[in-house]
């Protein structure tokens, strides 16, 4: 997030899209409700009805896959009606002319036709957003999990820049991270192209710092992303694969492909706290520890680095995950893996990472610190871009809608969206072992509109087969107004009905390498 969670309560307008916040980030939903009670206007762009839509000033239901169209249409209204923040655009941004020209094609009429939102509603939403003093954009996977996810995000950033909603309290472009430490894993370099703090592996200066700290040359060619790793396993190029604490056999798209890939490697190591679907395929399974058993830090979605603390010992022969890595490194013959505590590792991260360099366990305390925190007397950064952007001026990107992205295939008339439900989490490895959570939502289902259900002769709780070009799945039908005719939704947490089997992983977003989990052609048959 460019801004902080608490600031949401004081926004005048919140534009929420692709996030079922009440179910995925309930405590953040609480801040949004707080803002609404204080008079903020909530604009929700979402194909589905969600809990927060009953508190929204407007609920605008775009057709899946058409986000760029409505975002561009809002900007066109804002420019045409001269509602933009001229001063901000002139002094803090670049590329406005190009943006403005590129929006010519996004007349309200054309936009309305493509995205399915009334032209008058688009106009009203644009005015409300532009006229707010403090408008905050909040989004989640509904925006990013598309082959064009990166472009969706750029379009939202354009909207914030155009209206000067950046670099001030209660504004900004705010992605909500799904998992507890996605932000941190990225921050500390668990990515193929960057070292800690997003320092590029092919940047000689940045890499040089690490090389002198480690006393060894590091590879400068960016590595493979997870989906590319899976492909390389199948091609026989990856022979040794070490997976820590992830269960791609549930969470990755195109599960058949993942299983083939994992089975193809010569040596698969899985380190986890349960014998997951992925661990079952391993040659060696190492017993790791869970969060209650260790010291360390997580970084939340608002960049707050926070300490977790050990409460109990791990069971049996299970070890702290960082100790396992060190033991393997040492057995492999590598130096520089001698640590006596998680704190020592953190100090090394702080030394090598400019945005973390002012942090220490003592300073993090129980309140945490938000990066960037470049020095020991720096209080941390509540919101980004107050005075400028990393590159100086904010650059508008021209983002065009590609009609291909909304195309369905013959025999697959439905748009399938996959996602989460509130009472389960990710692959279900943890949450399905919780009695209270399992009680709430014990099994997978497919949401289908009453109209489609009637047409296909399907009743609530009937077993149905969902078929995509990639695979098929049998689940119970949940007939609900939450989805519109032509659209269906399946949660992905359930290993006996893994929705991701339906998703293809061959078409990826060129930048983020994300595949489309929110737009998959499908059909439904009675089982």
């Amino acid at each position: 997030m460019t801004n902080s969670i608490g600031e949401l309560s004081d926004a005048d307008v919140i534009l929420l899209t692709g996030s079922n916040t009440s179910e995925q980030h309930p405590v953040i939903a609480g801040k949004i409700l707080d803002a609404v009670r204080k008079g903020a206007k909530l604009l929700i762009f979402d194909p589905r009805i969600i809990h927060l839509t009953s508190f929204a000033h407007m609920h605008l239901r775009q057709k899946p896959g058409t986000d760029i169209v409505w975002i561009n249409a809002l900007m066109k209204v804002i420019i045409d009606e001269d509602l933009l923040d001229r001063e901000f655009v002139n002094s803090r941004t670049e590329g406005f002319e190009e943006l403005s020209r590129s929006l010519e094609n996004y007349s309200l009429e054309r936009a309305a036709e493509i995205c399915g939102i009334e032209a008058s509603d688009l106009r009203e939403a644009a005015r409300i957003f532009a006229m707010a003093d403090k408008a905050s954009i909040v989004y989640c996977m509904g925006i990013t999990q598309h082959v064009f996810g990166t472009r969706n995000v750029l379009a939202l950033a354009n909207l914030a820049l155009l209206t000067g909603n950046v670099g001030r309290l209660s504004t900004g472009v705010n992605p909500l991270r799904g998992q507890n430490n996605v932000q941190g894993a990225c921050d500390v370099g668990a990515l193929p192209n960057v070292l800690t703090g997003y320092q590029k592996v092919d940047d000689d200066v940045a890499r040089g710092n690490f090389e002198s700290a480690y006393g060894k040359k590091l590879p400068s060619k960016p590595g493979l992303t997870l989906i590319e790793i899976m492909n390389a396993c199948l091609e026989g190029k990856i022979k040794f694969l070490y997976i820590m604490g992830e269960n791609p056999m549930i969470t990755e798209p195109d599960l058949k492909h993942v299983e083939e890939a994992l089975s193809a490697v010569d040596f698969l190591v899985v380190q986890d706290i349960f014998l997951t679907e992925t661990a079952r395929l391993a040659h060696v399974v190492l017993p790791g520890s869970c969060w209650a058993e260790k010291d360390g830090t997580f970084t939340n979605t608002e960049r707050r680095v926070q300490r977790i603390r050990k409460a109990i010992d791990p069971p049996g022969d299970a070890r702290l995950d960082w100790q396992i890595i060190c033991d393997i490194a040492k057995a492999f013959g590598s130096d520089y893996f001698e640590y006596s505590s998680a704190e020592e590792i953190f100090d090394e991260i702080a030394k090598l990472t400019p945005s973390y360099s002012g942090m220490s366990y003592q300073r993090l305390s129980t309140q945490g610190l938000q990066w960037p925190c470049p020095s020991v007397d720096h209080p941390g950064t509540v919101y980004l871009h107050e005075t400028g952007f990393a590159r100086g001026k904010g650059l508008f990107s021209v983002v065009e809608y590609d009609p291909e992205s909304q195309k369905l295939e013959e025999h697959y008339p439905f748009v399938l969206m996959t996602g989460r439900v509130g009472f389960q989490y990710h692959s279900g490895t943890m949450s399905r072992r919780s009695r209270a959570l399992a009680r709430e939502v014990p099994e997978a289902y497919v949401e289908i509109s009453p109209q489609d259900a009637a047409r296909l002769g399907i009743s609530d709780r009937d077993k149905v087969k969902v078929v995509s070009p990639n695979g098929e799945l049998t689940v119970r039908a949940f007939v609900t107004e939450r989805v519109r005719p032509g659209e269906i939704f399946i949660p992905f947490h359930f290993s006996e009905a893994p929705a991701n089997i339906l998703i293809n992983s061959r078409e990826l977003d060129p930048q983020s390498k994300i595949t489309s989990m929110k737009f998959c052609p499908a059909r439904i048959e009675k089982a």
Partner: protein, 142 residues
């Protein structure tokens, strides 16, 4: 009396919820050395005394009987338990052989958005520094 009765203890340990990216503050309740529950952390900058249902029940999976307590070696779900040191040696040997015979880029590492920063950092250090490959990623895209 009390000082000898080691199990006569109740304490709370400040920590962060392991589920979503909100990062709510919580206290783990530990009675007699066992986790018995969760309390929301008052005065936390994000959640100040609130949690969602997932947070409130975050302790429930910790003591699940399914927890892995031994290293396993095997294939196709047919596993046998081995000592920890033996398992570590097996992994290190396989890694060394792969690097020697096929080069560092024939190895790949998948870190975790559920593990700590420290652990993810070390995984990256293992890949880049020990093995010499940038083939490291995690499931962030989900």
């Amino acid at each position: 009396m009390s000082d000898k009765n080691l199990d006569f203890s109740y304490t709370t340990v400040p920590t962060i919820c392991p589920y979503c990216g909100t990062g709510c503050g919580m206290l783990l309740e530990v009675i007699g050395g066992k986790i018995s529950g969760v309390l929301p952390m008052k005065g936390h900058p994000v959640s100040d005394g609130c949690l969602c249902l997932k947070g409130w029940t975050a302790h429930e999976f910790v003591s699940s009987p399914d927890r892995l307590a031994r290293a396993l070696v095997g294939k196709d779900g047919d596993f046998k338990e081995v000592g920890y040191t033996e398992a570590v040696a097996l992994v290190a040997d396989a890694m060394r052989e792969t690097v020697e015979n096929h080069g560092p880029d024939s190895c790949a590492f998948v870190a975790s958005a559920r593990c700590t920063n420290e652990e993810n950092y070390l995984m990256s250090k293992l890949a880049r520094f020990a093995v010499g490959t940038n083939n490291i990623d995690h499931c962030a895209r989900l």
